[in-house]
């Protein structure tokens, strides 16, 4: 055999081995092709309220159910916790749950492509994060036309066609953060800066709106600016540092996302503990450490594990038992120095 022939053979063999290996990882030899019996949706409503009336039919072979979880990013422990919850639900239910994500965070085209591929692969249900106001509408409709229900978790655009939303009430969570910081920590006076990792993100804007709503209740609390800290902790630190140097009279940095951890990093590094206050969202190990050390006074959890878990659970219950879809508010878990020791990182 010629060298070219050997190389071609080796290449094909390597790919075959890789593909076979990958196929084996899913734990199911063939795609489930069963048609799920689905509830008839009648619209969405406020969290906690049932939004569909199920047909009551039961699908046979429910262990063959395959659910695709299409994330919008996987570049932080928060997102991997969402995915972990979804995967654990799959294990607990004995069904196949495959998680995928675009390689660039919040790449609308790539995420829509992944959902289309999941539809073509005949997954029985899809859970995804619909962070764009209308960009997911057509692909969700496409899934619905194929009889594949789609639920939204973590973030959900209004009227995008998802059967249910499992996540936090963002504005209310922002409001609660604001109330605690302006009232309890700052005693009703001081200046604050909002630190956001994503100016395009409607969920983060809702949290910021909640913070500002709380500020309206305190006449001596003054908003300075909103800074874009990006999705890289080093970059976030630098942006917060620059904002502090520009506004040294600031009393608090209030984060609205998982990258709030950088606020604690900065306050700690500059020795501003007790002089400048910090608060933010999500329960990363770093943020919890800052709350424990007093560099930050509050972080608000939203239980990403449950968001991932219940997304799969809802799809399973609908596909297997025809159960109704329901919006679930996973809440605003207020973590301060008083209770931080009892909280596990996410």
């Amino acid at each position: 055999m010629t060298k070219k022939g050997i190389l071609s053979l080796a290449l094909s063999g390597l790919m075959a081995a890789a593909l076979a290996g990958c196929g084996g990882a899913s734990g199911s030899g063939t795609a489930a092709d069963s048609t799920a019996s689905q509830g008839t949706t009648t619209g969405t409503s406020a969290s906690g309220e049932a939004v569909a009336s199920g047909s009551g039919e039961t699908q046979t072979g429910s262990k063959d159910i395959k659910i695709s979880v299409v994330m919008h990013a996987m570049n932080s422990s928060f997102y991997t916790t969402l995915a972990d919850g979804a995967k654990q639900a799959g294990k607990d239910l004995g069904i196949t749950v495959d998680v995928t994500s675009p390689s660039t965070a919040s790449d609308l085209d790539a995420q829509v492509n992944l959902i289309e591929s999941a539809i073509a692969a005949k997954y029985n249900g899809i859970a995804t994060v619909t962070w764009d106001p209308t960009g997911f509408n057509s692909v969700i409709k496409k899934a619905e036309d194929q009889g594949i229900p789609v639920v939204g978790f973590n973030q959900d655009a209004e009227d995008c066609g998802t059967k249910a939303f499992i996540g936090q009430d963002y504005e209310d969570a922002g409001y609660q953060l604001g109330k605690y910081m302006f009232g309890t920590v700052m005693n009703g006076k001081g200046k604050y800066i909002v630190a956001s990792c994503g100016p395009t993100d409607s969920a983060l804007e809702a949290r910021e709106a909640g913070i500002k709503k709380a500020a309206e209740e305190y006449p001596d609390v003054e908003y300075i600016d909103t800074i874009d800290i990006g999705t890289d902790l080093d970059n976030a630190y630098s942006v917060i540092e620059s904002a502090y140097l520009a506004h040294q009279d600031v009393n608090a940095f209030l984060g609205v996302d998982v990258f709030s951890e950088a606020i604690g990093n900065f306050i700690n590094a500059y020795g501003l503990t007790g002089k400048v206050y910090g608060a933010g969202f999500d329960l990363t190990e770093g943020t919890l450490k800052h709350v424990k050390n007093g560099d930050m006074q509050l972080t608000v959890g939203q239980n990403p594990y449950l968001q991932g878990y219940y997304s799969v659970m809802e799809l399973y219950m609908n596909l297997a038992d025809g159960a109704d879809f329901i919006d679930i508010n996973t809440g605003a878990q207020m973590v301060t120095a008083d209770n931080v020791d009892s909280v596990e990182p996410e």
Binding site: K3, M15, C22, S103, A105, A120, A121, T134
Partner: protein, 318 residues
């Protein structure tokens, strides 16, 4: 026949694509289903169209890192104009012209100020991402007036029967670009400019003009890809196109083009773009764990280029 096959430059990369298609079909028969295969080709459209411009540039010995930002900026510009009830055709043309203008800026920076393309376009990539943020005010732009959604600019996102119209657009662009590259003086000049710029200058080719033309085409097709994306998705997030440049460059390199210039074809680039889409789609069908998906594309990229290099080295030895 054997000699003819040997001179067929895209042979290696076509072998890789066919091998992938066969293996994926064996592993998951649904891969070759009409619905999925149409999906795969549609998912090639944006990278493919943008890669047409990049192929011209890379053959001319340059590259453009700003294509993702041009995609984002022109997309935002068009979406803003659509939203403001500007005539959709006019808005479309303004966005394409804006893409050409950014390309012209890139070309002038590289050829007249002698800043290496990698640095110049890295700079404009950052600048025009900021412009996209500034135009949008940090918000996605969506929900367009009916005058726009009923116009031909949005029809680009529709289908003719089961085939998305954007696939036909991509096909026309590749065919025209392939003819320009292989059969016209402009194409010859690009190969000459990238292969040996000094010799090209000596025979009277204005290499600066050739490169500037390459950058302008790259800007124009990136803008066109953005217009198609808006028509298909009905929304433009500020992050639109972010990181796209790497997939585009990878498609061109996979297709057998040389980063040092003078080598590459449109057919090769199309196959390269298809390989990227096939691998991305295949990873979903095969349930490849999410953290390994990028790595898998990296492996295919390296193997395909290795195979291509090996075959050409062997050919050049006779």
């Amino acid at each position: 026949m054997k000699e003819k096959l040997k001179s067929f430059r895209e042979l290696g990369v076509i072998c890789v694509l066919i091998a992938l298609i066969i293996l994926l079909t064996l592993a998951r028969p649904v891969f070759i289903s009409p619905t999925n295969f149409i999906n795969v080709v549609r998912q090639t459209v944006q990278i493919g169209i943008m890669a047409v411009g990049m192929t011209f540039l890379i053959i001319s010995g340059e590259m453009d890192l700003s294509v993702g930002s041009i995609f984002g900026t022109t997309g935002m510009l068009a979406a803003t104009l659509y939203k403001g009830n500007v005539n959709p055709t006019l808005a479309f043309l303004i966005a394409i012209l804006a893409g050409c203008a950014i390309g012209l800026l890139n070309g002038v920076l590289v050829t007249k100020t002698k800043i290496p393309a990698f640095i110049a376009t890295l700079g404009t990539m950052k600048i025009f991402r900021s412009v996209a943020y500034a135009i949008s005010g940090g918000q996605s732009i969506s929900v367009f007036p009916e005058s726009v959604t009923n116009s031909w600019v949005f029809k680009m996102g529709g289908s003719l029967g089961p085939i998305p119209i954007q696939i036909f657009i991509m096909a026309v662009i590749f065919i025209v670009a392939g003819i320009v590259l292989a059969k016209t003086e402009a194409g010859y000049n690009m190969y000459a400019t990238g292969g040996n710029p000094k010799a090209a200058n000596l025979v009277g080719i204005n290499t600066d003009r050739v490169k500037i033309l390459g950058f302008i085409i790259s800007g124009a097709v990136s803008a066109l890809a953005a217009m198609i994306s808006i028509a298909y998705l009905g929304s433009v997030p500020t992050t639109a196109g972010e990181g796209r440049e790497m997939d585009v460059i990878a498609a061109v390199i996979l297709g057998g083009a040389s980063l040092s210039g003078g080598r590459g074809t449109m057919l090769g680039t199309f196959i390269g773009a298809m390989i990227i889409s096939v691998v991305k789609n295949g990873m979903v069908l095969l349930s490849v764990p999410v953290f390994w998906q990028d790595g898998f594309i990296g492996v295919v990229l390296i193997l395909a280029v290795l195979l291509d290099t090996f075959m050409h080295r062997k050919d050049s030895r006779g």
